[in-house]
Subunit: 135 residues, 3 copies
């Protein structure tokens, strides 16, 4: 039951925002083996003056399309997190067509006991949702 937060500048069409959401979700499913219905994302569209970033970062220009993504979920191995970042970036480059320079991502990890949803089933052997793959 991850929580995904996206921040972006206001004013993009619905299809563009839907493509962002779908691209992230597909990466979560393919890399973390989440079930398709384990899907929760919030998008915060902000006015330019409330969405502040340097137009250059490490010498690379950022455009107004710059997107910040925060992912929250239970602790995962470093290699899986790295694979997730790359899959999200690849998917967003493909659709809606973002530049890699216009992406920032971060993960906040918590423990399994820190999530609650009605009817959520816990596998006592693995400490994870019983439906989630072991990959």
């Amino acid at each position: 039951m991850p929580l995904i937060q996206v921040w972006m500048r206001k004013g993009k069409p619905s299809a563009y925002k839907a493509a962002i959401s779908e691209s992230i979700h597909q990466a979560m499913m393919s890399v973390m083996k989440l079930p398709g219905d384990d899907y929760f994302q919030v998008t915060h569209e902000l006015e330019e003056e409330n969405y502040i970033f340097d137009p250059n970062y490490f010498g690379m220009p950022r455009s107004p399309d710059f997107l910040m993504i925060r992912l929250s979920f239970n602790a995962r191995p470093a290699a899986m997190k790295q694979a997730l970042f790359e899959a999200i970036a690849d998917n967003l480059v493909a659709s809606p067509g973002l530049r890699r320079e216009d992406l920032g991502m971060s993960i906040v990890e918590t423990t399994f006991e820190n999530w609650w949803a009605h009817g959520r089933r816990v596998d006592n052997d693995t400490g994870t949702d019983s439906r989630i793959g072991k990959a």
Copy 2:
């Protein structure tokens, strides 16, 4: 000094939102023994296309009233966190009348040194606010 974030679909009346806030706050006080003035909540009301969740989760239908709550505070024992989740769910079912299936909650724990408020008093013996109960 917890920070509580609530996400919901836009358009609910003020009384409905106030009931959500009060239900969460009452649970924080009763389970975590917070003083009544230790109250901080932000509610993000989002357009439908910016508030994305699967209409079914683990086989249970979610309605447009689905509410996501994130609680941030210092580390607490697992049993207290579980009791808090249940108290919040119970309170929200009672007022404003949410279904348990329409609730998602997560906790981000930090250390005591990671909070700042002017005049905040620290109990060096317990590492907590000196006013907060030991429960």
Copy 3:
């Protein structure tokens, strides 16, 4: 690559919001030795009914100007975090002229591997961005 979130009541002029952003950024640079372009902040302006805090906290009155700041970055020593809190408070008192009683701050620390930006360079010896000072 920190992520800074600011919550405030809606309706302040642009110059006021820009002063808040600049005051926080200056403190990040001076205390944490971040490069100037390592700058990312989102400001959430909320309606009064969506921005809830007790008008008194620990016996001190809070005004409608109350500001909540969340800082997310890699783990830092406690002394540096304390210095950062004080520097941010000092800067915000100076500009835009906030009262210390109207400030709340918290930090969420993550590991270095939990951040991604295209072209980000990692110093394998220190586990930090190679450009960031060691202070």
